[in-house]
């Protein structure tokens, strides 16, 4: 019969005991998962079963992680994503969540830029932790990303983005994510990219504040190279704050738009 062990196919005799598979594949495993449920006792495996063998606390090797990710994302998709480089301008509620989603997706290179430090008020929606307060966002986020996916390269720049340094910072990225908070900064970045790197895809956001329906958060193609996520209208202002759910939805839609662009899909 054929079973799957740690994402790899394995031919074994009918009714092979789990303990036998553990001895063969990973004798030091102390957490055994069969078909999604942890098991404490030995059992006979059946054709098509999925087994995960884990050594508690062990960090998989880079090669193992790569294999696991390729298996989950299908190898063709993973290979294309692995070669990609994505820039993220601004590491607040949008940018920090986009970075984590793209790291989990296996995007090979991330360029993270933000001049700011983690403040207590950021924790309501941004992907930082209380023990990171006061640290540069670039440094704190890079640390988190290494814990999520050590296989990817993360380059950081703790500086303020201007129209002048956009070419140097983002000239080589395949896709740029605009994840600023201020409206004037959003416009500045979009215009700067268009001027220095015509045609480079930009995935921006506008209208992500409040707790209105997430159904109004959409991806719109404003120009052939410019995609905007949000409802385009709901600005952050007194009475309409930025909150984790809606900002998170928009960030994941930005990350998904990036993924689709990397895979050659341009119509959203």
């Amino acid at each position: 019969m054929r079973i799957t062990v740690n994402e790899q196919r394995l031919e074994v005799p009918d009714r092979t005991p789990l303990s036998s598979v553990r001895r063969q594949v990973k004798p030091d495993a102390d957490v055994l998962v069969v078909n999604g449920a942890p098991v404490a006792d030995d059992l006979s495996l059946a054709d098509g079963d999925t087994v995960v063998l884990i050594r508690r606390g062990e960090v998989p090797s880079v090669a193992e992680l790569e294999h696991l990710m390729a298996a989950r994302h299908t190898p063709g998709v993973h290979a294309r994503v692995r070669r990609a480089c994505v820039g993220i301008a601004g590491l607040g509620g949008l940018g920090s969540a986009v970075a984590i989603a793209l790291a989990r997706t296996g995007v090979g290179q991330l360029v993270l830029v933000d001049f700011d430090v983690v403040e207590p008020s950021n924790l309501n929606r941004q992907q930082y932790f209380v023990d990171q307060i006061g640290r540069p966002k670039t440094e704190a986020l890079a640390e988190t990303l290494r814990r999520v996916n050590p296989c990817i390269e993360v380059r950081t720049h703790a500086l303020r983005i201007t129209a002048e340094n956009v070419p140097l910072l983002f000239g080589r990225v395949d896709v740029l994510v605009e994840a600023f908070d201020r409206a004037d900064q959003k416009s500045m970045l979009i215009r700067a990219v268009a001027a220095c790197c015509p045609g480079k895809p930009v995935v921006g956001a506008s209208g992500v504040a409040g707790h209105g329906s997430c159904g109004s958060v959409q991806v719109r193609r404003v120009g052939p190279w410019l995609y905007i996520v949000g409802d385009l209208e709901t600005a952050a202002q007194p009475g309409t704050g930025l909150m984790a759910p809606r900002v998170g939805v928009a960030a994941c839609m930005q990350a998904n738009t990036v993924l689709r662009l990397l895979l050659g899909e341009t119509e959203m």
Binding site: G90, G92, G93, L94, G95, A179, F180, D181, R182, A183, D184, K186, S187, I190, R191, A194, A195, P198, G204, A205, S206, G207, V208, A209, R220, V222, G223, P224, L226, I228, G230, L232, E233, T234, A235, A236, Q237, L242, V247
Partner: protein, 91 residues
């Protein structure tokens, strides 16, 4: 000459329409086209596209035929398609 203008986001809200056609004199520059649009769509719309000085608002993203406009004095041509978008704060 006739130019087609598409509005996105809050600008669409202020304009009250998704798109419009506007007839302009040959050689009209962007800044003056926006003045004409402001006269048609009202003060609030006007404040989103032009500064009090008459210059194009710095927050405005303006694409002419899918390419960012080169500035206030960008000369429009018959049949041009203009897209106007002004991001709002939040991230």
């Amino acid at each position: 000459m006739r130019v087609k203008v598409h509005f996105y986001g809050q600008i669409r809200q202020k304009a009250g329409v998704e798109h419009t056609d506007i007839d302009l004199a040959e050689g009209t520059v962007l800044r003056l086209a926006f003045s004409a649009l402001a006269a048609r769509h009202g003060e609030e719309f006007g404040r989103m596209v032009l500064e009090p000085s008459g210059r194009v608002h710095p927050n405005l993203i303006c694409l002419v035929n899918d390419v960012p406009a080169t500035g206030d004095e960008h000369v429009l041509k018959d049949g041009d398609g203009v897209a106007l978008f002004s991001p709002v704060a939040g991230g």
